[in-house]
C-alpha cells in the first residue's frame, strides 16, 4: 500500500495532464487563495471595526455559531440554489467558493476582532493623545498590534479551507479533493491516500510560508521571547 502510494506520487504520469497532480495542486492552491483573500476582504474590515468600535459584537458571536452549520449541507444547498443561476463553468466553482468563504470568515473575523480588542487601551489612548487621526490610530497602532492574532486567525482559516476544499470535489470542484472523491468512487485507495498526503503537505507548506510572513510582519516588540507560540490551531479562535 505505502509503496504504491509512493509510486503513484513519484510517477511522472500522475503529475501531468488535465487531471494530473500538478493541475490539481494548482487548482487547489488557486481556489484556497481566492477563498482566503475574499474572506479577508470581508472579515478583516468588519473585525477591525467591531474591535475598534467595541460595537456589534453579536456579529462575532453569529459568525462563530455559524461554524456549527455542516459544511457538506451548506455545499449541497448552495449548489442546488446558486448552481442553476449560473450558466457557465463557474456554476461548479462559485457555490463551493461561497461556502468555503463562509467557512473561512469566522476565524479571520475573530482574529481581527480579538486582535484589535487586545490592543493595550493605554497605547490606543496615547496614539490619540499624541495627535494621530482615527485612521492613523488604526493603521499605525491598532493594526500592527493586532497582527499576531489577526495572522493566526488567517492561518487557521487557511488550513481549514485547504482541508475542507476537498469535500467540494463532491459537487464538482477541481483541486486535490478530486483524488479523494474519485479515488473513493472507483475504490482506488492509492489515489485517495496519495491525495490526502498531498493535501496535508500543501497545508503544511502554506502554513510554513504564513509562519515566515508572520515572523517578518509582526514587530519583535509584540512577540518578545514567546517563539514557541507561533504554531496555531483553529482552537485559538
Amino acid at each position: 500500500m505505502i509503496q504504491s502510494i509512493i509510486e503513484w506520487l513519484l510517477s511522472p504520469e500522475s503529475w501531468t495532464g488535465s487531471s494530473g497532480i500538478a493541475t490539481r495542486l494548482w487548482e487547489h492552491l488557486l481556489y484556497s487563495a481566492i477563498v482566503v483573500v475574499l474572506a479577508c476582504v470581508i472579515a478583516i474590515p468588519l473585525g477591525l471595526y467591531i474591535g475598534h468600535a467595541g460595537r456589534a459584537n453579536w456579529a462575532v458571536t453569529l459568525a462563530n455559531s455559524a461554524r456549527a452549520v455542516p459544511t457538506l449541507g451548506l455545499l449541497f444547498a448552495m449548489t442546488l440554489v446558486v448552481g442553476p443561476m449560473i450558466s457557465s463553468e463557474l456554476a461548479f466553482v462559485i457555490p463551493s467558493i461561497a461556502v468555503l468563504v463562509l467557512l473561512a470568515i469566522p476565524p479571520v473575523l475573530s482574529g481581527a476582532y480579538a486582535g484589535v480588542a487586545s490592543v493595550d487601551p493605554a497605547a490606543r489612548d496615547a496614539a490619540r493623545g499624541v495627535g494621530m487621526r482615527p485612521l492613523q490610530v488604526l493603521t499605525r497602532v491598532e493594526v500592527p498590534c493586532a497582527l499576531p492574532l489577526l495572522l493566526s486567525g488567517i492561518r487557521a482559516a487557511t488550513l481549514q479551507v485547504i482541508a475542507t476544499a476537498t469535500i467540494a470535489a463532491y459537487v464538482g470542484l477541481g483541486g486535490l479533493g478530486r483524488f479523494l472523491i474519485d479515488g473513493l468512487a472507483s475504490g482506488d485507495y492509492v489515489r485517495t491516500a496519495g491525495g490526502a498526503l498531498l493535501v496535508a503537505a500543501l497545508a503544511l507548506t502554506v502554513d510554513g510560508v504564513l509562519a515566515l510572513v508572520e515572523r517578518y510582519a509582526v514587530s519583535p516588540g509584540l512577540t518578545g521571547k514567546d517563539v514557541g507560540d507561533t504554531a496555531v490551531v483553529a482552537s485559538t479562535t
Partner: protein, 314 residues
C-alpha cells in the same frame, strides 16, 4: 531545527498509534448498541419480525439502488426473515468491498456491470448470455440470484436542444462532434472499462472534457448547459421530467443491465426464494414509475417499496 522536526514526526506517529488503539478498544461498546438502534429504527416502517441472523441489505448511492434495497428488505421481512437496510454506501467499488467483508449481505446489482467489473474484457450483450457468464466470474463467496426482467442501463443523454443542434440520435453520432462537447458522469465513469475508455474504443467518441458529478448536480449541470452530455441511468425520472434525449447504444457498449440481487453465499439459502419472487415481478416500467414517485413526488422509498410489495402480493 532539524532535531525538533524529526522528534515531531516520531511523536506524531506515536500519537496516531495510541489514538488508534484506544479508539478501537474504548468505543466498541457504545457503537455496537448504536448499530442495533440504528437498524431497528430503519426497520420500524416495515413489519420486521422473524428470528435468525439479521440480513443487511446494502445499496449504492443512487435512488434506484436505494429503492431496490428497500424492496428486497421489505420482502424479506414480510417473509419472516429479519432484514435491515444500509443505504447510500457509495459506488460499486465500495459496496462490493462491504459485501466482501460482511458489512452487508445483499446488494441490488446489474448483470452487465458485474461482468465488466470482474472481467475488463467482458463482451457479452445478450441478457441471458450476460447472466450466464457472470455466474462463473463471481468470487466464490458471492452468488447472484435470478435476474429480473427490469433493466437499468447506463445511458448517454443530451438535452433536446443539443440533440437538435448536432442532430444526435445515437451514440455514434457523437463521434464527430464530441471534441467540442463536455461530458459529465459520476467519478467512477472515468476509470471504468465501459466508461470513457469504452466510449472511445467502441464508438471513437472522445469528449473535450470530463466533469465528475453525481446526483442532482449532474442533472442540473446538463440542464444548465455546463455540460453537453451526461451519463444518466436509463430509469432516472429526470430524463422524462427534463425531456432529455437518450442516445441509442447501438453497439451495446453498456450491455444488458438486468437488476439482480447479489448476495453472500452464506445467506443465499435464507434469501433465495423471497428475492427470486421479487425479481420475477420487477419490470422496467414499474421501476421507472416507482422512481418517479421517490424522486419527483419525493415519496419515501420505504413506502413506495411497501406499496409495490403489497400489490405484488409479497
Amino acid at each position: 531545527m532539524h532535531r525538533t522536526s524529526r522528534s515531531a514526526g516520531v511523536l506524531a506517529l506515536a500519537t496516531a498509534a495510541l489514538l488508534t488503539l484506544t479508539a478501537c478498544g474504548g468505543s466498541s461498546d457504545p457503537l455496537s448498541s448504536e448499530t442495533t438502534d440504528d437498524s431497528t429504527a430503519t426497520d420500524a416502517a416495515t413489519d420486521g419480525g422473524g428470528g435468525g441472523e439479521e440480513i443487511v441489505v446494502g445499496s449504492a448511492n443512487f435512488s434506484e439502488s436505494v429503492l431496490l434495497a428497500n424492496i428486497y428488505a421489505g420482502a424479506l421481512n414480510n417473509a419472516g426473515v429479519n432484514a435491515s437496510t444500509n443505504t447510500g454506501i457509495g459506488s460499486r467499488e465500495i459496496y462490493l468491498n462491504a459485501l466482501e467483508d460482511g458489512s452487508i449481505d445483499v446488494i441490488p446489482e446489474y448483470t452487465g456491470a458485474l461482468g465488466f467489473f470482474y472481467d475488463p474484457e467482458f463482451s457479452e450483450t445478450d441478457p441471458q448470455a450476460v447472466y450466464d457468464v457472470i455466474q462463473g466470474l463471481l468470487p466464490e463467496d458471492f452468488v447472484v440470484l435470478d435476474r429480473a426482467e427490469a433493466e437499468n442501463n447506463d445511458s448517454v443523454v443530451v438535452t433536446q436542444e443539443t440533440a437538435e443542434e448536432y442532430d444526435l440520435a445515437a451514440i455514434p453520432d457523437l463521434a464527430d462532434v464530441a471534441g467540442e462537447l463536455s461530458f459529465g458522469a459520476p467519478p467512477e465513469f472515468e476509470t471504468r472499462p465501459q466508461g470513457l475508455s469504452g466510449l472511445q474504443e467502441t464508438y471513437g467518441v472522445e469528449f473535450a472534457s470530463f466533469r465528475p458529478l453525481t446526483g442532482q448536480a449532474l442533472v442540473q449541470a446538463l440542464q444548465n448547459g455546463q455540460i453537453d452530455a451526461a451519463n444518466i441511468f436509463s430509469t432516472d425520472p429526470a430524463i422524462v421530467v427534463n425531456d432529455f434525449v437518450v442516445l441509442e447504444d447501438t453497439e451495446k457498449l453498456f450491455g444488458s443491465q438486468n437488476m439482480v440481487p447479489l448476495v453472500r453465499a452464506d445467506v443465499a439459502d435464507t434469501v433465495r426464494d423471497t428475492l427470486n419472487a421479487v425479481s420475477a415481478e420487477l419490470t422496467t416500467e414499474q421501476v421507472t414509475e416507482m422512481l418517479r414517485q421517490t424522486d419527483v413526488e419525493q415519496r419515501n422509498p420505504e413506502d413506495v417499496a411497501a406499496e409495490f410489495l403489497e400489490q405484488a402480493g409479497l
